[in-house]
Every structure is written in C-alpha cells, then in structure tokens.
Symmetry: C2
Amino acid sequence: MVVTSNREPDVFTAISHPARRHMLDLLAETDRSVSALAGHFRMSRPAVSQHLRILLDSGLVTEQRHGRERRYHLVPQQLASVRDWLARYERFWDDRLRRLQAHLIATKSNKQKPCAKSNHE
Amino acid sequence: MVVTSNREPDVFTAISHPARRHMLDLLAETDRSVSALAGHFRMSRPAVSQHLRILLDSGLVTEQRHGRERRYHLVPQQLASVRDWLARYERFWDDRLRRLQAHLIATKSNKQKPCAKSNHE
DNA sequence: TTGGCACGTAAGCAATCACTTACGTATATT
DNA sequence: AATATACGTAAGTGATTGCTTACGTGCCAA
C-alpha cells in the first residue's frame, strides 16, 4: 500500500533544508529504506524519520511498506511548483532555454543548430 | 554605491518564505524602494526591511541609495544554485527537455560539444 | 513464544523565525 | 533651523525548527 500525504505543507519549505535535498538526491537514484538513508547522515535515525515526514507531507515522496521496512520513493512531479516559479526568471540568465523555446515553437526543424552556447549579456 | 551582501546565507532558505518570493516577483518587474514594496504586504515596514535583509544577505538582491530612498534590485543570477539543483530532476517530468536530450544525442555524430546537461547519476 | 530489528512518535530543549513597537539616523523640504 | 520622510536597527515575544533520548508498535526469525 502506497501512503501519500494528508497535510499540505509547502514544497519550498521542504527543500529549504540541505539534508532534505540530499535525501531527495539519494531517492532520485533509487528507492531506499529509512536505515539506508540514515547511513548517509550523521544525525540520529529518528531525525531522519522526521525529515522524511516533512517530505512526505509535502508530497515529494511516498512511502511503501515492505515487511518491516518502509521504502521511500521520490515524486519529482511535486517539484513543478518550484520549477514554475523559477521559470519566470529564466529569461534573465538562460539564453539556451530561451532559444530552445523559440526552436520548439517554430518547429520548422530546418534549423539544425540548437547547440550553441552563449552567456551573452 | 551598490551594496551587496557580506554574509552568505542559503538561497534556498531565502526563497522558502512566500513573502520573500513575492518580493522577488515584484523586483523582477522593476527596482523598488522599501515603501513601494511594503505597499504590497500587510506586515509592517520594518518586517519588510528584515525580509529584504535576508534577500540581501543571500545575494538575491542589491540595494542602492537614492537620496533617502533605498532601491532594491534583483540579482537573478543568484537563483542558479536552485536551477542547478532542480535540473537533476527535470528528466523525470519534462518531456520536452528529454526529447531535446535525445535529439542532441542522436545528432551527436560529430565532435561537437554536447550542450545538454549530463544527467549521469 | 521469545527476542531482535525497522520504524514512528512523544517529550524535552536550545536555537531560530517572523513578527511587533520603539527608536535612531540620514536626507529632503520649508 | 525645524520638521517630515525613508529607512535600518534594537528589543521583546510567541511560534516553529531541528535535534536529542526514550519508548511503543509491527514484523520476522529461531
């Protein structure tokens, strides 16, 4: 049975702590149990559980029971709100994405040179 | 004289508060004074100043004195750390970028520099 | 059944956060 | 000079964070 969150705290708050971002990074590789995650941190295992609870409540992870283990699974779709907010600022510093957007909108596919780098200001 | 931050708190922490994200949104339109910003919030003006201090310390804004005003200016480049961290997860939910990556890999027959991010691990 | 393992939760605590009001300082106006 | 404006800072406060240790529950193995 997959358990999802009931509350709805902020994703921005959830990712504000370095340890929680590290946990997400680890879960991006593969699902992991609490003990497997705790092995990467100096804090106590209950502390890891508390961070996981925050991630669970934010919807960024789900948990699944396997015997006496609980494997945590990344739900990267929940990062969409961060991406969407950040997208407003991309035009300021990401020429490449802007060009990609133009390229995709055009969809002419005659221009075969989307791989140019330019940090022009 | 443009004043930049001396300390170096986390950008992730700076953007974790909704009010501070809103301030950045407002500064993305144009530079603004503290009073101009405070007009968009219910909190007191000193509270706005305190939030601006956090943004200043994170490097997300700079301040510039103009007479008795202080105009705050967005420094969107400081959001790069957020973008870079988020980029690791794009392959999970951004079909467009994934297609671009596939496209670039497919057209990589020559010795051209790949401009897609290496999503290794 | 008995014991051990994996995990969540409760309780407690120091530190930090997010606000308030009060006040100080520099600049502009008259 | 006197006053008003724009702003930062100090001090105080209640709420929250991030950790710890202690303990309870559920599952598995001997």
